[in-house]
Symmetry: C2
Subunit: 249 residues, 2 copies
């Protein structure tokens, strides 16, 4: 009977989603908000370098960028930059939209009884407006910076997320847009699906160790079967697709 | 003597620079301005897809994105989006900075009597404030959308730029951040140097056919010798570097 029980645990994966750049289209606003924040404390860092570091925690991002410039940020400077970033991002927040497929994918996973969580490097305050855009139930599992001591690429945030779902990380897919998600996923022992929605290229995500790279949550939704979730979702344009949610177990 | 004259023409290359994302750090503002513009005419396009199409002309960008969505833009919609983009970008212009090494590279090429031009898909009005940031002489060779009938990836803009310099495109390096620059360069018969400053990955630029991929104008400046420009520029940190300009022929 061992074979059957081994099969059972590998049958229904859980999903651990990154938030910014993965479910909501906020990376470009975050990059420019960090650019403004770092400039305010005297650092002139080109936007593309900041863009590639979105998804790290604020303090890690500041440290990473200060290594680039050879200048060490004091704790006060790092805190000032984080506060300035939060203020600058808030001014840009009205421009943030959900990404294609994100809302429907989460709804569909819920209806299919597939466990899922959101695991973000941001604070609860950072995350709240983005979570509102996603229109998810109040009892959704959301892990933020305050639940862990170290941010991505430390695996802690995904380990905590899997535990809250009552699952082993090995039975979970991490879905993220940044190499930090992919690196953290691998250290957690989870397979990582990279999405292009954050502005990284497919090659960067593959090089970091992504199991698969898809365009966006919509493409993941249409290919759920390939992750072991038997959704009954047909190809886009098919009439079956619209009915699939009703057919869910 | 033919050999010597062949060598002479291949000895001193010219440089044809893209502007946005290559010399000035404006791609992220352009991407968000296009996002706002397209939304205003009813298109919800994720920012990363727009980002990857910066460097096309406004109308080509609109057409490319409408192909993505399957909806055809009318000429009026396309014009409205272009106007809205220009207005939205103007509101963001205060955030635009020059990229590392850009100003000094152009100065150094001038002092070394190396021909260079700027070739941008933008209009003269788009380009003017960015050119001001670069602090270049009034008589610099600048080719804009009004000088050609088709924008990149059509090779026309680089062909015109090379002709204005009195050079064959085969003797020029195109320096750009977007695959559209690289594709246009190859069609023009020029070697393309890709810079990471626009937010594309090295793999995307290499796949498009870049001869080399460098981080930014500063890295190009430090490796001018590798392009056949004998600048006498030493490695960064060396005292010789500061004196190299004075040693220029």
């Amino acid at each position: 009977m061992q074979k059957r029980s081994e099969e059972a645990t590998s049958n229904r994966p859980g999903f651990l989603f990154d938030l910014d750049g993965t479910l909501v289209d906020s990376n470009y606003q975050h990059a420019l908000a960090w650019k403004e924040a770092l400039e305010s404390i005297g650092f002139d860092i080109p936007t593309w370098k900041i863009h590639r570091r979105i998804g790290l925690s604020g303090s890690m991002l500041a440290n990473e960028l200060s290594r680039q410039t050879g200048i060490t940020l004091t704790k006060d400077q790092s805190r000032a930059a984080s506060e300035m970033h939060a203020a600058s991002f808030n001014r840009r927040r009205d421009e943030v939209r959900v990404l294609p497929g994100a809302v429907v994918l989460l709804q569909q996973l819920t209806q299919l009884s597939v466990p899922w969580a959101i695991a973000t490097s941001g604070t609860p305050e950072d995350a709240r407006p983005s979570l509102q855009l996603l229109d998810i139930p109040d009892n959704s599992t959301v892990i933020t910076a305050q639940d862990v001591t170290a941010a991505k690429p430390d695996p802690g945030i995904f380990l905590v997320a899997a535990r809250r779902l009552g699952m082993s990380p090995q039975d979970c897919f991490v879905v993220g847009d940044a190499i930090w998600d992919i690196l953290a996923a691998r250290r957690a022992g989870a397979l990582a699906v990279g999405l292009l929605t954050g502005g990284y290229s497919a090659a960067e995500l593959t090089d970091a160790g992504a199991y698969r790279v898809l365009e966006d949550a919509e493409e993941l939704r249409r290919s759920l079967d390939l992750t072991g979730v038997h959704s009954g979702i047909a190809a886009p344009g098919s009439h079956v697709a619209d009915a699939s949610v009703d057919n869910a177990p």
